[in-house]
């Protein structure tokens, strides 16, 4: 049942037919994520960012390609490596950076940090810190959209939920229960495994049986599946677009492996002794951003100047975001007791939306 979408652009007819401006937007989104992450790493070194921080560098094509193939109101949810997904959904980087800085202006008022980027107005249901714990939530988001269509009977929205997780999540029971529930209840959810080959220092072959062919996990639930080159955004789009459409039609779940790679360490404190420099270089040579740049140049006369201008523009935006974040005050200590409960009782001071949603 597993289908194979390959990475040669020529074999990505759907993406190839899209207007050049769309592809340029993809490029800009990927550049923005990478720049955001580069500056995040610097900020972490400067102790402006604390806690656990996991950057998305190398995997940009997955978040950008998948959200591009989905509708803007399709719910998405992911794990703690979540900056890319939030930005791909259009969250202003300043709110993300302020969150990392632990400021009140952050998307979660500085209460969630790197692992908990949320943007409800853009149907981004978070960043979640416990491995695989978001997979039942993803099934629940899909349950809710279906319930709204069938029970509450609003105009049928037929929304499809994209539930992202890492390869390490394949080893958690919650993932398997979610797959089975989605299959039994016919939930419109795509389980998207961002297989970057490692969970922390554990290569997938050391932690996961059938790690060489994880679509076998889907077969156990009678689920359609695909393995897609996550280092080529056009392959990502072409691979997932038909599956999203089918899911929207049939409301049947499916499983997708995105073969990708994280260029950096698992978190900010990872010497990466478990893999070779050569392996890292091999993947960086397949860089998805480079690939798209080449495609745009080859097919759509994208010039070096345009490229430089776009890069400049992105850097400017992120620099501004950092400035904005820095100017945002730290949360007042009274914030400890807000957003715990909806109402006011005892020491609890009710709840309110973050600045991001009050614009």
């Amino acid at each position: 049942m597993a289908t194979e979408a390959t990475s040669r652009a020529g074999e990505a007819p759907l993406a190839a037919q899209l207007p050049p401006d769309t592809l340029r937007q993809w490029l800009r989104d990927m550049l923005l994520i990478r720049e955001f992450e580069v500056r995040t790493m610097q900020a972490y070194q400067n102790r402006q960012v604390g806690g656990f921080c996991h950057v998305y560098i190398g995997q940009e094509a997955v978040a950008v390609g998948c959200t591009a193939a989905a509708r803007d109101d399709d719910p998405i949810i992911t794990a703690y490596r979540d900056h890319g997904h939030a930005l791909a959904r259009g969250m202003d980087p300043k709110y993300g950076m302020a969150e990392l800085f632990g400021r009140i202006g952050g998307c979660a008022k500085g209460k969630g940090g790197s692992m908990h980027f949320f943007d409800a107005s853009r149907h981004m249901y978070g960043g979640h810190g416990i491995v695989a714990a978001q997979t039942p939530l993803g099934a629940g988001l899909a349950f809710a959209t279906k319930y709204e269509d069938e029970v509450i009977g609003r105009r049928k929205s037929d929304r499809v939920t994209l539930c992202f997780f890492g390869d390490g999540a394949l080893n958690q029971g919650a993932f398997h229960e979610s797959m089975n529930l989605a299959g039994i209840l016919d939930l419109p959810v795509l389980f998207i495994c961002e297989n970057n080959g490692y969970s922390m220092g554990t290569s997938i072959s050391r932690g996961t049986t059938m790690g060489h062919e994880i679509t076998a996990k889907a077969a156990a639930y009678g689920m359609d599946s695909a393995s897609i080159d996550g280092m080529d955004i056009m392959a990502v789009y072409d691979g997932i677009r038909p599956m999203i459409d089918r899911c929207r039609e049939t409301s049947r779940p499916a499983f997708i492996e995105m073969r990708t790679y994280r260029y950096k360490g698992h978190s900010m404190s990872d010497p990466r002794k478990y893999r070779t420099k050569e392996e890292e270089e091999e993947y960086e040579a397949k860089d998805a951003i480079e690939k798209l740049v080449e495609h745009l140049k080859r097919e759509h006369g994208f010039t070096d100047d345009e490229h430089t201008a776009m890069t400049k523009d992105v850097k400017k935006q992120v620099r501004a975001a950092m400035k904005w974040a820095n100017d945002s005050p730290v949360p007042d200590n009274t914030e400890l007791y807000t957003d715990v409960y909806t109402g006011y009782w005892g020491p609890y001071q009710g709840t309110s939306l973050p600045e991001m949603m009050r614009e």
Partner: protein, 327 residues
């Protein structure tokens, strides 16, 4: 005129009325639909609301708890039934990390209006894996509310409140009470959280309890009354929020206090009540607070051992005698 119905009927009425009132409310759990619930709590609900709102699940507590939380994040109002709260342990991460913290972690963006409900505490000789009093574990966690009714009237009124609440609620029922009957009016009513009920007024000793043991306390109070010890029995109704004011007011009057909590003693809700009463009533107490719990051992199967382990009438009576220097 009042009707007398079973605890399980009261639970069903609460769910059914709220499902009629708000189509965002649905019931999900093991055997809740076609089997009408392992304890027949949801009998007839599948017929009335259909399979889209009364949903059977596989034995996947972590999965369907999380599924409910995800649905609640989108504004639905799930009622998730645990056949027993003992089985919530396999879903502990979902019910303790995701439900109670979603609003906080998202900086107020997303709420989690969900009710988890099911049997809590000892059933009949179910042994140690099936007799959990989860309030002993979960009461420690901010972000949840915990309701624990002791009779059919409260079961209905508190469950309706739980379903309308915008925060996650852990609703703790007792398998031992499901067939107990009690007066429940036809008219609609709800019972606010955080308001304890004085089940029996008395001047000599305050007895505070939650859930099923409240009934043991009332029994003990009658026995003690015969010996001229007039106890005030307070039903906490909710553990979070805890109505400490009503308890303190009573202790300031009686000057002594017994806390009866079915969970294990160590670091339990009973310990919390005792500590708070001592703090608030330091100058009022004639004696330290006495605590009655289940014994600090795994729940045994044998009938005599289980009965001995529970916070039974004998233990409560003895505690009250000591607390009032009548031992």
């Amino acid at each position: 005129m009042p009707r007398s119905i079973e605890f399980r009927d009261a639970l069903r009425e609460a769910m059914s009325e709220e499902m009629r009132r708000d189509e965002r409310v649905f019931l999900m759990g093991e055997e809740v639909a076609e089997y009408s619930g392992a304890y027949k709590v949801s009998r007839g609900m599948l017929e009335e609301f259909g399979p889209r709102r009364v949903i059977d699940t596989p034995i996947s507590e972590a999965g369907f708890s999380g599924l409910g939380i995800g649905a609640a994040m989108m504004g639905l109002r799930p009622i998730i039934e645990f056949m027993s709260w003992s089985f919530s342990l396999v879903a502990a991460d979902q019910v303790l990390n995701n439900a109670p913290k979603m609003r906080y972690m998202s900086g107020g963006q997303l709420g989690c209006p969900i009710v988890f409900r099911g049997n809590d505490g000892a059933g009949g000789q179910l042994g140690s894996t099936h007799s959990w009093c989860v309030e002993g574990l979960y009461a420690n966690v901010p972000g949840v509310k915990i309701a624990i009714p002791s009779d059919p009237y409260d079961a209905k009124g508190l469950l309706k409140t739980a379903i309308r609440d915008d925060d996650p609620v852990f609703f703790l029922e007792s398998e031992r009470l499901l067939s107990v009957k009690g007066d429940v009016p036809e008219e609609e009513y709800t019972i606010p959280f955080g308001e304890a009920l004085i089940r029996r007024p008395g001047g000599d000793c305050t007895i505070v309890s939650f859930g099923r043991p409240v009934n043991f306390c009332l029994e003990a109070a009658e026995a003690l009354a015969k010996d001229g010890i007039d106890c005030e029995v307070i039903d906490g109704r909710t553990i979070r929020p805890l109505d400490i004011d009503t308890i303190v007011k009573s202790v300031r009057k009686t000057n002594c206090c017994v806390v009866v909590d079915q969970s294990w003693p160590f670091a339990s809700p009973g310990a919390e009540v005792a500590a708070q009463v001592h703090r608030a009533c330091f100058d009022d107490l004639d004696n330290h607070v006495y605590r009655v719990h289940s014994d600090d051992v795994p729940a045994p199967y044998a009938y005599n051992l289980e009965q001995e382990m529970l916070p039974n009438v004998r233990k409560i009576t003895e505690a009250a005698r000591h607390a009032t220097y009548n031992a």
